[in-house]
């Protein structure tokens, strides 16, 4: 089959070049022999035969280009033929396309998930030196009972690790939560409860205001919240001051003290709309 031969040609460019070489050599030798028959010395005969080709390298290049150009044209014809054939049997085409689509779709989803979970660096200042710490508890997980999960760390445990650790520049804690936004348009928001050093440890950049300070975690502190950039756009519009505005979250009035940069999407898969200090958890 012609197309198969051309297909192979493309992968055997070296062989093709050798074939052209051999073809030219055979031409030159035949010419040289005839030249000798006409009375030239063998050296003259060979030189004359070669000279007639002019720039041999250029000529070989052009010959090879012809072989490949033909291949590309035929590829176009083959593709058109394939398209026509597929149109003629829509049932087969449909099943084939569906199979491919499902296969590609499933792979893409799995990759997206694995990328987000395991490959994507967190959008923080020094992602490569960031580590995640969790417990592994042998035995009945319910016996431990930190949110019913064996790898959750309780606040006192966290405080103990934070104060006792000498290997890290800082240790922050967070927990996923759902906050109910009150007011004119009640809705539930994905949120993160975080330790007050959370933004400092991660080195998050703020477009407005600031992150939490240790004062925000005192029992006497008034409730404060940091908003994600997208939630700020949604709730307050792009511009205008938001620092100092209040929000009702879980029936408490929170004062907005900062808006995280648009590149910061939190520390979990779910992108939070708001961060609040752990100490303020109901």
């Amino acid at each position: 089959m012609a197309w198969l031969r051309r297909w192979r040609n493309l992968w055997r460019r070296d062989r093709l070049a050798k074939e052209i070489d051999e073809e030219l050599r055979s031409h030159i030798e035949m010419r040289a022999r005839d030249n000798v028959a006409e009375g030239m010395t063998p050296a003259e005969a060979h030189e004359d035969a070669q000279r007639r080709f002019g720039n041999r390298l250029l000529m070989k290049e052009r010959t090879r280009a012809m072989d490949l150009a033909g291949w590309i044209e035929t590829l176009g014809q083959d593709l058109r033929f394939a398209a026509r054939t597929l149109r003629k049997s829509p049932g087969f085409t449909g099943v084939a396309v569906l199979t491919l689509a499902l296969g590609i779709g499933a792979n893409t989803s799995v990759f997206t998930l694995i990328y987000a979970l395991a490959i994507r660096p967190l959008p923080v200042k020094d992602a490569s030196s960031l580590v995640s710490i969790y417990h592994h508890f042998r035995g009945n997980p319910h016996a431990r009972g930190v949110q019913d999960l064996p790898y959750y760390i309780s606040y006192p445990e966290y405080a103990n690790y934070r104060d006792g650790s000498r290997s890290f520049s800082g240790l922050a804690a967070y927990a996923e939560t759902t906050l109910s936004l009150g007011g004119a348009d009640p809705q539930s928001l994905p949120g993160l409860l975080v330790s007050c050093n959370y933004f400092d440890v991660l080195g998050v950049h703020f477009t407005d205001g600031r992150g939490f300070s240790s004062f925000d975690c005192l029992a006497s502190a008034s409730p404060v919240a940091v908003l994600s950039n997208s939630f700020r756009q949604r709730e307050f519009g792009g511009d205008g001051e938001v620092i100092g505005k209040t929000l009702t979250l879980d029936s408490q009035v929170f004062t907005v003290i900062g808006v995280a940069g648009p590149e910061f999407s939190g520390t979990e898969l779910q992108v939070p709309d708001a961060w609040v200090p752990l100490a303020m958890a109901p």
């Binding site: 012609a2 052209i20 055979s26 031409h27 035949m30 080709f53 720039n55």
Partner: protein, 110 residues
């Protein structure tokens, strides 16, 4: 070779090669010799453009190529006319006649 021979004109090379191969399969060197001999040394095929042209025609399906043994038993690539090439030859011959007639009538008139 005298000074009064012509390099084969661009565009007529394909016609001359196809016509030459209509007599039977031949290798590249044979084609140059044949054209030169039949034109009584007036036409000269430039070797540098012959092989790109042959490979082009092969890719277009006008001719097919096969390795074989030459008259002196050395390996050579033999080209043969295909059915598509035969049709192409008929068409190019017709075009050539129309062109030469047209040029001739202009020369006669002016």
């Amino acid at each position: 070779m005298g000074k009064s021979n012509f390099d084969v004109l661009q565009g007529t090379l394909a016609l001359l090669v196809l016509k030459t191969l209509a007599r039977g399969p031949m290798h590249g060197y044979g084609i140059t010799l044949h054209i030169q001999r039949i034109s009584r040394d007036i036409l000269r095929v430039e070797e540098g453009s012959l092989y790109p042209a042959l490979h082009r025609m092969e890719q277009d399906g006008w001719i097919s190529a096969e390795w074989g043994a030459s008259e002196n038993n050395r390996r050579a690539r033999f080209y043969a006319l295909t059915a598509k090439g035969r049709k192409q030859l008929a068409e190019e011959e017709k075009n050539w006649e129309r062109l030469t007639e047209a040029v001739a009538s202009v020369l006669r008139f002016a």
